[in-house]
Subunit: 104 residues, 2 copies
């Protein structure tokens, strides 16, 4: 038996909120904390926790600074993060093909 | 801003192991506990916990019985479970399209 596609999924990337962060950061290249919070309907604490997981794994780079006098946090996808997102997508496609082939 | 596709994902279904259980049960219609455990590389305890979550949500039906003298547990996808899997797949496809449209 060959390994089922879900066995190769990485929980760091697959988790719903983190997959959303990576997808949006991929689309936008550089995305502001408040924008992510609104787009993903999260509290600041919850978003912060998921960003820490992604940062520790080297998938995003967090940048703190100011926009005028307002403190701002920006999230950038790293090359490792982009590669991890592409791998997740490739595995999801394999999973979807497998399910759809079994659909009568 | 329209809702991001990940906002509609259901954590009960999206979680890696549970997505695997639903996909395999969809492919096989009725699947034995030991087969699932091997296919998903899980301990019996871990698989049992995920099956309980799916059963409480009405997505699988658990059937206990015997094969000869050996106790066996079978897992069946319910119509609700099949619908939930199809919805997950539809949302994942939307997410994949969105990421791929943003890929240079």
């Amino acid at each position: 038996m060959t390994a089922h596609p879900v066995n190769g999924l990485d929980d760091v990337v697959h988790q719903r909120v983190r997959l959303g962060i990576l997808a949006i950061a991929h689309e936008a290249r550089r995305v502001e904390f408040g924008f992510l919070r609104t787009a993903l309907e999260l509290t600041a604490g919850n978003l912060g926790q998921h960003l820490s997981v992604l940062e520790r794994a080297g998938l995003v780079h967090i940048e703190k600074g100011y926009e005028g006098k307002r403190p701002r946090t920006w999230v950038n996808l790293t090359p490792t993060g982009d590669k991890a997102l592409q791998e997740e997508i490739a595995r999801l496609k394999r999973l979807i093909r497998q399910v759809e082939q079994a659909t009568p």
